[in-house]
């Protein structure tokens, strides 16, 4: 028995946790259910480390390991198995999924404290982890699809976790349905693969990609890209992700930042040999969709008032970077950024959750300010995350973003320009967020002396506001232009208790993730080729499909300096506007409303789309069924002369039909026998 044989434990432990919680979650209650789920995740992380060590022990060319559990759909010549595909890519994914996942489970124990459905939350969380691990470990496209749909379903459950709020329920449904549009592409890709190769196991399609015709490879790559657009929230299917913030914040951190939304990048990296066989327009398309989404989402993030919405659009934007990287053949930087992003974005989301928790469910940044005094650990760790995403060296985000920009430059300077502008905007909106939340004046007052009655009222008010915020800042901005005003407004919000730091279960993960966000860049340092640990590790997966760039060291340093300067410029502008108040913020409504793209879709679906569905339904009732009833009526009317037969008893009609059949039969008999 070697360490690699333990691979089945990686998804099995969260699955076991899920099953145990289904059966006995209510009995365990709080906090037992949470600890059980966390322990399962930690065990899964342990198993992943063991498998990682096992893989590391092997020479580079032998770092692929298959484990087949059973045949899933054996039919015809197809054998679609239930098995695992362990290689450097899947293990790298598992490491950060289980690692970050464990921290977020732990955090949730504190965050979900007091929720009536405490155990149910962890049940979903464990099911999610299982699905996500199946997605990356599955040894064929269909098993990846199983995980792919599984994480989508869990995302649906968790977004609409607080289901009594119609907006949250709608957000969950929207996520599922929008994702399914992408899943359609994924399915067609699987069909095309089966039709061309008679197999969908990675083992065979990756080595057999060379035998695919260009057209087929293009079709498969394009369809998988459609799937990736849906799951990884790229333009034009990103609309579900900002709404997904309706879910509890740990969910946003785990699913909608660190893991699930990166599945599209994983998928495209996984099938890199097929992309290599596809027509040459595929990769530039991926790159431009990524770059365009990155810039587009960044412009929206600069005007959001909801602390989580900023991070949501930021996630869309950062995922755009990863697609840009895949599009220019920079798979290693894409995975690198995926990992560092998992660290710092999970950190930022969890930090925002801690803020929301400490502010008694307040999410509007214009009602915060100066919070570093009240929650020092949250503030310090959030600042680490901010510097990492802003691309300030030596934080992890600097290294990964810099690599992507370098490859973009080598491929097409126009892509680099888009990436650079996005980097500037990123630094700007994140600084804006940090300044609005943790620095400056307190835009709330604490009135802890209220009697119990007033406290309840204030709490209710706070809840109502939260609900409104998650509905979408745009709605609030339209309906209450006063309350959603710019920060210089003297809009003083009354809290019934002082903001407080979160319990250790929440701050410990923050500190751990902050550490990772600082040093995460070490897995792939640019200075010498000896330090390209991630590139070396992933080399067996990518081979020659990883782009090779030829850029002089001087240029590299120059590009890095420009990128850092862009980041610092963004920070400086935000500092001037939001801390020094040197000029009024520019936050146009159109940006706050996300270029009104989402609203256009919503009104199309609610208007012409719904009317079309309604028309089909009416068509069915009046035309199709109308024809049926019309025939019936015609028969009844024309049968007026034979009214005596129109008894209305089915047996008579049946008799008529049978009689007719007998006559026909007799006629026929006569024809053949005579």
């Amino acid at each position: 028995m070697e360490l690699l044989d333990l691979v089945w434990l990686i998804p099995a432990l969260p699955l076991a946790g899920f099953l145990l919680l289904v059966l006995g979650g209510r009995l365990l209650g709080e906090p037992g259910a949470g600890w059980l789920a966390t322990a399962m995740m930690a065990g899964s992380f342990g198993a992943t480390v063991a498998v990682f060590v096992g893989l590391l022990d092997r020479p580079e060319e032998e770092r692929v390991f298959g484990q087949t559990l059973f045949e899933w759909m054996p039919i015809g010549g197809w054998d679609i198995d239930f098995g695992f595909y362990v290689d450097p890519l899947s293990v790298a994914m598992c490491l950060f999924i289980t690692g970050v996942g464990t921290l977020i489970h732990l955090y949730s124990v504190g965050y979900m404290h007091g929720d009536v459905n405490f155990s149910k939350f962890f049940l979903y969380l464990n099911l999610f982890a299982f699905s996500m691990l199946m997605l990356v470990l599955g040894d064929n496209l269909l098993l990846t699809f199983l995980g792919w749909e599984g994480v989508g379903a869990c995302s649906y459950f968790l977004i609409s976790f607080w289901f009594t709020d119609p907006e949250k329920a709608s957000a969950g449904k929207k996520a599922f349905v929008t994702n399914r549009i992408g899943d359609w592409g994924f399915m067609v890709a699987i069909f095309a693969c089966l039709a061309a190769l008679g197999s969908i196991s990675y083992d065979e399609i990756l080595s057999g990609a060379g035998s695919l015709s260009g057209t087929t490879a293009t079709l498969i790559a394009a369809c998988l890209f459609v799937g990736a657009i849906g799951k990884s929230a790229q333009f034009p299917l990103y609309v579900w992700l900002p709404d997904a913030m309706a879910g509890p914040t740990p969910v946003s951190a785990l699913i909608h930042a660190a893991t699930m939304v990166t599945s599209g990048v994983y998928l495209l990296t996984r099938v890199n040999p097929i992309i290599a066989e596809a027509d040459t327009w595929i990769q530039p398309t991926i790159a431009w969709v990524g770059a365009g989404t990155a810039l587009f989402a960044a412009t929206i993030a600069v005007s959001q008032k909801d602390i989580k919405k900023v991070l949501a659009y930021s996630t869309v934007s950062q995922l755009g970077y990863m697609f840009l990287a895949v599009g220019v053949g920079a798979y290693v930087p894409a995975v690198f950024h995926m990992i560092t992003h998992a660290f710092f974005k999970a950190l930022l989301f969890l930090g925002s959750g801690s803020v929301i928790h400490g502010m008694h469910e307040e999410q509007d940044m214009t009602r915060m300010g100066g919070l570093r005094k009240y929650m020092p650990i949250t503030a310090a760790t959030f600042i680490v995350g901010w510097l990492a995403i802003a691309g300030v060296p030596p934080f992890s985000g600097f290294f990964s973003k810099d690599e992507i920009l370098l490859y973009a430059w080598a491929e097409n300077p126009a892509l680099w320009v888009v990436g650079l502008v996005t980097a500037l905007l990123t630094a700007f909106y994140m600084s804006r967020q940090v300044f609005l939340v943790f620095f400056g004046d307190e835009r709330f007052t604490v009135d802890a002396d209220h009697d119990a009655h007033t406290e309840v009222a204030a709490a209710d008010e706070g809840d109502a506001d939260t609900a409104l915020d998650t509905e979408g800042a745009e709605a609030e901005a339209l309906e209450h232009p006063d309350t959603a005003g710019a920060p210089q407004h003297d809009d003083v919000h009354v809290l019934h208790a002082a903001p407080h730091e979160s319990p250790w279960t929440m701050t410990l993960p923050l500190v751990a993730l902050a550490g990772l966000a600082i040093v995460g860049g070490a897995i792939q340092l640019p200075f010498t080729s000896d330090l390209h640990f991630l590139a070396d590790w992933l080399h067996p997966v990518l081979g020659d499909n990883e782009a090779h760039i030829d850029v002089a060291t001087g240029t590299k340093v120059g590009l890095a300096v420009v990128a850092v300067l862009a980041g610092l410029t963004g920070i400086a502008i935000a500092y001037a506007i939001y801390l020094r108040r040197m000029r009024d913020p520019i936050e146009p409504a159109i940006l706050e409303e996300g270029w009104r793209y989402d609203r256009a879709i919503t009104s199309f679906m609610g208007g012409p789309g719904r009317a079309g569905f309604e028309a089909a339904s009416n068509f069915d009732r009046t035309v199709v069924d109308g024809a049926v009833n019309g025939v019936g009526a015609l028969v009844r009317r024309s049968g007026g002369g034979l009214r005596g037969l129109q008894s209305g008893f089915v047996r008579n009609y049946a008799l008529g039909i049978a009689g007719g059949a007998v006559l026909l039969l007799a006629y026929f008999l006569a024809q053949v026998t005579l």
Binding site: W78, R180, G198, F613, L669
Partner: protein, 591 residues
Amino acid sequence: MLAANLAFPLLTAAILVPLAGALLIALVPATRREVIRPLAVLFSATTGAFTLWMLGAFDRSDAGFQFATSHTWIEEFGIGWNLGVDGISLFLVVLTGVLFPLTFVAVTPKHDPKAYYAWLLMLQAGCIGAFSALDLFLFFIFFEIVLVPMYFLIGGWGYGQRVYAALKFFLFTMFGSALMLVGIVSLAFLDRDAALERSEVASEELAGLQESIDVREVSGVDVPQEEYDRLDELTASVEGADQLTFDLVEIAEGRAEALAADQAAIDAGEMEARDSWNPLDWEAAKWIFLAFALAFAVKVPLFPLHTWLPDAHTQAPTAGSVILAGVMLKLGTYGFVRFGLYLFPDASLFFAPVIATLGVIGIIYGAVVATMQKDIKRLVAYSSVAHLGFIALGTFAMTTQGIGGGVLQMVNHGISTGALFLLLGMLYERRHTYDIAAMSGLQKATPVLAGVFTLVMLSSIGLPGLNGFVGEFLVLAGAYLTLKWWAVVAAAGVILAALYLLWAYQRVFHGEPTEEDLATPDMRIGELAYMAPLLVLIVFLGVYPKPVLERIEPSVAALVSHIEGATDFEEPAAATSGFSGTTADDHGEGE
């Protein structure tokens, strides 16, 4: 063969036991009404046990008909009590066997239990008969007989519009099957004519051979044994020629043989395509196929013949809906496989694009119309139109995966939709309405019911890992091989399925509950108990469908080669052979 050694006629028993039960219940005096339900459960469960026994004894390596029985019934017309199951019908028989007792346990009628259970038992017998009949006339009788109990169930125990719905259901299906009867009879007669034609040729050869043998026998010359054998063979074929037969296998195999000969002649250039396709000429084959197809299309139902279904479902009592969706709709799709593809490989191939198109229209159209329904039972009825569209598509794709996936999907749809209707019955029992708008936020008051509903809903949506996905996926992937664009469009149906079900779920279970919603009682242990087998199957068949697939596959593969032999259809190589590239299987098992 294990099956052949079983002296006990399982299939006959599975048909006669519920029938006897129906009779017995009809004779129960009014003073002993309390024994009716236990009796009904006993008889239907015994039937279920027979079908499970068959499942256990089924030889999965055998593609042919097992547990076959053959008794002459009406000798003059060659009509026989011919029964048998293969991989295609096995699971439908088992589904019928199991679903009935489950509904008996789950739902009790509001009035007249005697008639109610008698009709349902008769229905069970009819359905098992229809799925196992291997004689055209016998099939027709079973196919028709099931209408009567269902008509009375809808009309007698249904809701407000029940009379209209029952009448519509009855007339629609009667209309389809009347034409099928004409088709069956004409097919039998034309088949006999063809046999007669062949026997004329044979009798000439027979006369010559007889004479030459006679001459040699008289003169004492040895006659080789082969010539005697040939003599017997010819005699037999001439003697049997004027005998009318309704035997499905005999007619189908005879047709396939003749078609294959013609196909060989066409391939060799000796004959023009579809010139004199024996034993039916091509025109007759087309028309007779259409007569069958119409009957099945109404039953499936295919667009635009589907409007009886929403009415029938909405008005039927819960048991009626469960059986209608779970078992009876499959008579149509099963008919397409057994009496379409098997009996008319030529005409099926010819009409495949048309029927597949109707299937795809049903998938999209059914889903779109389902989305806008205000009555949740109607919504599920339209979802059936969409789901059965998948089966029609797979069947007429004519690949192993398409047909096999379709058969599996018949079973899956029976389980999932049966479970859905049982759940809707529970909702109705609590709230006395099927109006979606009348309920809200039920998940708060009924978390267990909501959880079970979610699982069944996800199965119906086709979430991988649950049963609905396996069939749907195989259908689409199989269809992609021969009907590429149909499959691509049909795959979009999965988006819509998520839309209508999640939206309905949201309106009923999510949102702020009213006081009435909060007062809705959650699922009882007993209810959970009878749902449990269905829920277990939903997960089991999603994760490990192999035991089912490996029993379905040999029969389906045999059917595909039957079609290939009779026509110029060739199953794409990708369906039958796996990857043939240069890969070395060097790291399959580790070290």
